[in-house]
């Protein structure tokens, strides 16, 4: 029942505002998307711990991250914040400081793009540095726009 709905939401992501009535489903989609990205980012970090990191795994995982850099813009429709009544760590500032939030999203998109190019280079030392920079972009936005877990 829920799965086709979520699938439909993913496909209809650019038209997300049209579906604003279903905040719970939208928040769930957002949560899963970020979790999938965390998983992908972790897979890269795990490879980097190995003596011989797998280029294939890292390339595949970085794709999830760059896809998310595009998708993120549609994941915060109005009405999916703390006032939605649904459990979310998204802060109200996302919708009140829109320019600042957009700048944080753009920063992540830029970092994801350059990280993808660094991963393509296959140089483990550079990928480690790149991962750190990308993580800082994540952290920067989380600090301002993601609530601390209670």
């Amino acid at each position: 029942m829920l799965k086709p709905l979520i699938a439909a939401l993913i496909l209809a992501a650019p038209a997300a505002p049209l579906l604003a009535q279903n905040a719970a489903a939208q928040i769930s989609v957002r949560h899963k998307a970020y979790e999938a990205m965390g998983d992908a980012f972790k897979k890269i970090q795990d490879e980097l711990r190995k003596p011989a990191p797998s280029q294939a795994v890292m390339q595949q995982s970085v794709k999830t991250i760059t896809d998310m850099a595009t998708r993120q813009y549609s994941l915060f429709p109005a009405g999916t914040g703390p006032t939605s009544g649904v459990k979310t760590l998204a802060k109200a500032e996302i919708w009140t400081q829109t320019a600042k939030f957009k700048a944080a999203q753009d920063k992540f998109a830029a970092e994801a793009g350059s990280f993808s190019r660094i991963v393509a280079s296959g140089d483990a030392a550079r990928i480690r540095d790149g991962a750190r920079n990308l993580g800082q972009a994540c952290k920067g936005c989380h600090t301002d726009f993601r609530a601390e877990k209670k």
Partner: protein
């Protein structure tokens, strides 16, 4: 009644205790100030202390051994009823606190080893054995168990204050000097363990932590 001075805690136990005090404080501070490199070193050092303490609880001096102080409810009730066991070391009620503290610390260290932060910037040395979600769960437990640990430490300090102020018994001094005054000549002091056992326990603990720090390659 005659009073005499007897040994209570051996050097390994006292060193363990005070190093733990310093390292728990240091771990807390490094976590609060996001000094995660140092937090990880501190956690590994606590891991070393815990592995040592558990081993010492089986082969160490008699007051260090679990078999000496982990008692059943009957012994706890007798103690609460004012019965004096006539021996030094943890009393049956205090033993519960020791076990709770050690267990919480084991949970604290174990979850820290697998924890992953939400930004993917920091992760425990064994986090590659779990998924992102499991790593986040480990971090959540790490967070919650520290609150439990804080509560247990407050209880520990309250008990010490109670002994000092109400029972006029200073429990801190023996943990520093190793010995205390007892009334009654029948009270036996701590029986130490040979140094080679200490060296063996330290070596095993160090080896274990070194392997964990390397990511536990199988």
């Amino acid at each position: 009644m005659s009073a005499k001075v007897v040994a209570v805690w051996d050097r390994p136990i006292r060193s363990f205790h005070w190093l733990l005090v310093v390292l728990i404080g240091f771990s807390w501070w490094t976590a609060e100030t996001s000094r995660m490199d140092w937090h990880q070193y501190s956690g590994l050092a606590i891991c070393f202390l815990l592995v040592f303490r558990i081993l010492w609880g089986f082969v160490g001096s008699n007051t260090a051994r679990f078999s000496h102080f982990v008692r059943g409810p009957a012994a706890i009730l007798r103690h609460l009823g004012g019965h004096d066991s006539g021996r030094v070391g943890h009393n049956p009620l205090g033993a519960l606190s020791v076990v709770a503290l050690l267990l919480t610390l084991v949970i604290q260290v174990a979850t820290g080893l697998f924890a992953v932060d939400v930004d993917g910037l920091e992760s425990g040395p064994l986090s590659h054995y779990v998924s992102f979600q499991q790593g986040r769960q480990a971090a959540a437990i790490h967070d919650a168990s520290f609150t439990v640990l804080q509560g247990l430490i407050v209880l520990h300090l309250a008990a010490i204050a109670f002994y000092l102020l109400v029972k006029r018994d200073n429990l801190v001094r023996p943990m520093v000097t190793g010995s205390r005054t007892v009334s009654g000549s029948s009270v036996a002091g701590m029986e130490p363990a040979p140094a080679w056992r200490f060296l063996l326990c330290v070596s095993v603990a160090a080896l274990f932590v070194w392997y964990v720090a390397k990511g536990f390659p199988l």
